[in-house]
């Protein structure tokens, strides 16, 4: 871009702390098409001055030397196709965090302006795809979450295709008589009115229901997925804009809990089996068909156990309370005992718990069930219960409140299995064949588990995060998965109770609709929601190394037979992880590219060694690290003035060439600050932080070869709320570099 305007703001103390006149002279050197200063750039008059200058000067880009791009977004919003805006954070990164009227502070502001101007010069206006796209939502799974997702999307005017594997809708909830209380006083069981709700949904003109059906294939990208739905009548091909997967969960296999007597005695049943009895209106002891006198419920059967399900299944306490209440109502003579580890009754369920407890026939104790013995008449052995260290209790029927296992398919494992199969066939040596065969044996159980049958290079189903749940970011972005436009809802996403699953269905449907609308505008969904830029692949220079295809967290890229990446732009989240991966540097975004950042680094001043002014490049993730930096500045924390911050979309987008360039230019050190990884993974693009660590591990050897100390490059994890650590991190790194002395490459 050539026709650039520079707009300096003198507000918020900028004019007092900096010599804006000097900054203007420096900027003048690069001959911008427009240069002006405003006492308050974010005021309506200030914004108007930008608009007028852009129109009159026919500007392509505007550089705002003002505040952080994270604030005043409404004020500085211009059509990105007409005017590319770049902000230089003179307020947060310079005047709030450094002493006023000082040479080093002024130098920092000059550098940041020059770097910003360079970046802007490299930018191109975004050219988003806009197209008429398919408005339909495909909902996979007709249980509580799926039904409500369908109702929500249809309610928003989107056609819905609801695919259910079994012959009828309703899922687990369809096979229960009562529901937990849904309204005040939250103390009484409610009749299950799901059948009425199903009738409403079936009657909705915008919802098409496919029962005894499956998704045979799903290809394409948000806004233009093509789904093949297979029913008993045949296969139908449909266009859909987004997908909600709500395939629910199944009970944990109680046969894996032999110490609890399951399998040894027919009188030990799962909560699901008790549900069947209660639904049929016949509570009977399986061995003799008599009404049991005492029913013992064993909570956490398999859940919260590292050998079985390490997580809390969330629903079992509620199910047990509901079943106890149903027994009290229908069989007043039956005594019910519950042995729990902790009763977990979130929200209003606590009231129901108290109501059930108050019933004379209900007994509760905390404790561990060590064993269930006997065949007809059972003995429950309790350990460490509130009633004593070692106790036994007679029971006629024992109910295992088994946990929840998500009905997910491990897309990545299925893909690995398929690849291994191919390698077995095409192996060049016997050892290769044997290794591949070993993998096939290991992963064989994934055969036939496909649900979505995605035609994605990275596998036919959603990648799983922890414990088999396909969530991608549990806390901040519920429903999001690692496949753009495909949202997880209900017990598939996290263990939950039916009422919560209903809300989840609504939530996921809203995300799906939002995604369809974003796709129609050619914009990204979260976290860069509204970003119209699309990646560009200069494929003539592609070496088919497949790193981009493999490392994209969102499965954006497919491959042709030779291994050349095929872009599905609307699957892209604009994180730039492919850009960081590409050794040929052929991937770029209009306003964010390897070249643009490399040019910024080149625009930075690097004083000679004798000046004793080191230079440090800080590549900071815009998701967590940059907000933390802004927060530190807001609290007026100060840090080392040699640091030059370059915001990056994700540490995963950092191309190692930037680090190599910086060091060879004589910069003294490079620090990368990004999101937490590992068990407490907070990377907004799931894999970026992890990948950055791996890639940086590789560069350390190169540094040693260049006779540079490996300490000159450092990577730090920082959470959103750790702004207090900013000065310590930056000053600490500067101190390390000072100990090392100036870079030996200075001046070369």
């Amino acid at each position: 871009m050539e026709r650039l305007g520079v707009f300096l703001c003198a507000g918020c103390g900028l004019g007092d702390a900096l010599d804006l006149g000097a900054l203007e002279s420096v900027t003048q050197e690069s001959k911008p098409a427009h240069l002006s200063r405003h006492p308050c750039l974010c005021s309506p008059e200030g914004v108007e001055s930008i608009r007028q200058a852009a129109e009159q000067g026919n500007l392509e880009g505007a550089l705002l030397g003002a505040c952080s791009h994270r604030v005043k977004q409404q004020e500085f919003r211009f059509d990105p196709a007409k005017l590319v805006v770049e902000r230089v954070s003179l307020r947060e990164q310079v005047v709030w965090s450094h002493p006023a009227q000082q040479e080093d502070t002024q130098q920092l502001a000059e550098d940041l302006l020059k770097m910003g101007l360079t970046k802007l010069a490299k930018a191109k206006p975004a050219a988003p795809i806009t197209d008429t796209l398919a408005p339909a939502v495909l909902v996979v799974g007709g249980g509580q979450a799926g039904l409500e997702a369908a109702a929500a999307a249809a309610g928003l005017g989107h056609p819905v295709l609801l695919v259910e594997k079994s012959g009828s809708l309703g899922g687990h909830l369809g096979r229960t008589r009562d529901r937990l209380p849904q309204g005040p006083s939250y103390e009484e069981l409610e009749p299950n009115r799901l059948a009425d709700r199903i009738a409403e949904i079936q009657a909705h003109p915008a919802i098409r229901i496919f029962t005894s059906a499956r998704v045979r294939a799903l290809r394409g990208q948000p806004g233009r997925f093509q789904a093949e739905i297979e029913t008993l009548k045949g296969v139908e091909s449909v266009e859909v804009g987004a997908v909600v997967q709500a395939t629910g969960a199944r009970p944990y296999d109680a046969r894996r809990l032999p110490h609890l007597g399951y399998g040894a005695s027919p009188n030990v049943v799962t909560s699901e089996e008790l549900e069947t009895m209660l639904f049929a209106g016949s509570l009977r002891r399986p061995t003799d068909g008599k009404l049991p006198e005492r029913v013992v419920f064993v909570q956490c059967a398999g859940s919260r156990d590292p050998n079985h399900l390490p997580y809390c299944s969330a629903d079992c306490c509620g199910v047990t309370l509901r079943q106890m209440a149903a027994i009290h109502r229908d069989y007043p003579r039956v005594e019910t005992v519950t042995v729990y580890r902790d009763m977990r009754t979130p929200g209003q369920l606590e009231r129901f718990y108290a109501a059930v407890q108050s019933h004379a026939a209900s007994l509760f104790t905390r404790g561990e069930v060590e064993a269930v013995e006997g065949n007809g008449h059972l003995t429950v052995r309790l350990r460490d219960s509130l009633l004593g260290p070692s106790l036994s209790l007679d029971a006629d029927l024992v109910v295992l409140a088994v946990g929840m296992v998500p009905n997910s398919a491990d897309g990545e494992a299925i893909r690995a299995l398929r690849d291994a199969r191919r390698r077995v066939e095409k192996a060049e040596s016997e050892t290769q064949r044997q290794e591949a065969q070993k993998l096939v044996d290991q992963l064989g159980h994934h055969q036939g588990t496909e649900i979505l049958n995605l035609e994605y290079r990275q596998g036919p189903d959603l990648p799983l995060l922890r414990y088999g749940f396909p969530d991608s970011h549990f806390i901040c972005f519920p429903y999001e998965t690692r496949r753009t436009g495909i949202y997880a809802a209900g017990a598939l996403r996290a263990p939950m109770e039916a009422g919560q699953a209903a809300e989840d269905g609504w939530g996921a449907a809203l995300k799906a609709v939002q995604c369809i609308n974003a796709a129609a505008r050619g914009e990204a969904v979260h976290p860069r929601a509204g970003d119209p830029e699309l990646p560009d692949f200069f494929l003539q220079r592609c070496t088919q190394c497949k790193r981009c295809t493999e490392e994209c967290p969102f499965g954006t890229l497919n491959e042709d037979e030779k291994g050349t990446p095929q872009l599905n732009a609307l699957r892209c989240r604009r994180c730039g992880i492919c850009m960081g991966a590409c050794p040929e540097r052929i991937i770029s975004f209009p306003a964010y590219s390897v070249d643009a950042v490399a040019s910024m680094i080149r625009a930075m001043s690097v004083p000679e060694e004798f000046e004793e002014k080191p230079r440090i490049l800080a590549l900071m993730c815009e998701n967590d690290a940059l907000p933390a930096l802004d927060a530190a500045a807001e609290k007026r924390r100060q840090w080392n003035p040699w640091v030059r911050v370059v915001p990056v979309r994700c540490l995963g987008s950092v191309n190692l060439v930037w680090i190599a360039d910086s060091l060879s230019r004589g910069l003294d050190g490079v620090i990368l600050i990004g999101c937490k990884r590992g068990d407490d993974n907070q990377c907004h693009y799931v894999r970026g932080s992890e990948l950055a660590h791996t890639r940086l591990g590789n560069i350390q050897e190169t540094l040693t070869r260049l006779a540079l100390e490996p300490e000159r490059v450092k990577i730090v994890e920082l959470a959103h709320d750790e702004s207090e650590r900013i000065p310590e991190i930056l000053d600490g790194f500067a101190a390390t570099l000072e100990d090392l002395g100036p870079s030996p490459l200075k001046g070369f």
Partner: protein, 376 residues
């Protein structure tokens, strides 16, 4: 060692009917135990007792001194997040234990069900007195009278109350032994019973434990007045035997006589004490606890004894001026004698028994750990 859990549904049912229904709501957070200033640090209550009550583990409750160490201060009830009202539950448990420890047990059940049996419990002693006087030919009233001696001779009163006192002492001995054995099954005791009884008596005389109560602190003064009123009345009764049979003083004694002053002061204390307790219940039932038939029967009985006693005395004072006819006075006197008899007889079977059981439990506690209970 594995022990079998034997929850008793009948105990739970009884508890439910006797004001302990809220026990079910307890979810064992132990707020109650940590706020109780009477609970010893080494054996906190009432969290554990709430669970036993829920499960109907009557044996454990019967052998646990904590049930009796509780003074129903209701600090637990005030702070219970589940509104499980541990203070009420323990009171209900005590009611059931009194019934269970009673000898013979059917009398315990009879008083335990005072909600329905009270006309019988109050009526029978009064009818007994009427029948006795009729049999002795004493129902004919003189034209005027200046002392109750003229209506009912002293010897007849002693002929009734002394054997009754003997009976009450004997059955209390049996019941007390039952509790003492049940408590002893929990662990060894050391030291002498009487050696510990003295400090406990001092404790009771000053209501030292009651002083630690927070929520129901106002109960202490009422209870203390009532306690000393009863002691005064008992001492006066003893002094009167001496006055009649040893000193040979003419009855009635003048109002200025020291014995008379003691008796009237005791009556005043009783009246004030009962007044405070009743006012507390009327003012703030949530703090004092739910009134069950077990509580109310005893309260009514005490109230009737006090009121009838005072009315009878006033009737005699007014009889001299002819304002009260001897027939009315006799009627009031017989009613008073009846309710006093009912109170005597109810000692081992009603809430009155807490005097015995709580004393035993505190002595047991001191003998079991030889330590003062420490505030949590």
């Amino acid at each position: 060692m594995t022990t079998a859990l034997l929850p008793s549904s009948s105990f739970r049912k009884a508890l439910l009917e006797r004001g302990g229904a809220t026990a079910g709501k307890c979810y064992q957070c132990a707020t109650c135990s940590s706020v109780c200033d009477l609970a010893p640090a080494a054996a906190p209550f009432p969290r554990r007792q709430m669970l036993w009550a829920q499960w109907g583990l009557a044996d454990r409750l019967a052998g646990d001194p904590s049930v009796w160490l509780c003074h129903q201060c209701n600090d637990c009830t005030a702070r219970c997040p589940r509104d499980a009202r541990p203070g009420d539950v323990l009171q209900a448990v005590r009611g059931l234990l009194v019934e269970d420890l009673a000898f013979p047990r059917f009398l315990g059940r009879l008083v335990g069900n005072a909600g329905t049996t009270w006309p019988l419990l109050l009526g029978l002693p009064i009818l007994f007195w009427i029948a006795l006087l009729a049999a002795a030919g004493l129902l004919s009233v003189p034209q005027s009278f200046h002392a109750y001696e003229q209506l009912v001779p002293h010897w007849l009163i002693y002929a009734v109350y002394l054997p009754v006192a003997g009976y009450v002492a004997a059955v209390s001995w049996v019941s007390g032994r039952r509790l003492w054995r049940a408590l002893g099954a929990g662990g060894p005791r050391s030291g002498s019973f009487f050696g510990q009884l003295m400090p406990v008596a001092t404790e009771i005389a000053t209501h030292k434990r009651f002083a630690k109560c927070g929520t129901a602190a106002s109960r202490r003064s009422g209870h203390l007045a009532l306690f000393w009123g009863f002691v005064g009345a008992a001492v006066t009764s003893g002094l009167l035997i001496i006055a009649i049979y040893i000193q040979g003083l003419p009855m009635p004694l003048p109002l200025a006589h020291p014995y008379k002053i003691l008796g009237n002061l005791s009556a005043l204390l009783l009246l004030v004490g009962a007044g405070i307790l009743v006012a507390n219940r009327l003012r703030d039932g949530k703090r004092t606890g739910v009134s069950t038939a077990f509580d109310s029967y005893f309260a009514w009985l005490v109230g009737l004894v006090i009121v009838s006693g005072i009315v009878v005395e006033l009737a005699r004072l007014l009889a001299g001026d002819g304002m009260v006819s001897p027939a009315v006075a006799l009627g009031l006197y017989v009613a008073h004698l009846g309710v006093v008899l009912a109170l005597f007889l109810s000692f081992p079977y009603s809430k009155f028994a807490h005097l015995l059981y709580r004393t035993l439990a505190i002595v047991h506690q001191r003998m079991a750990d030889r330590k003062e209970p420490t505030a949590a």
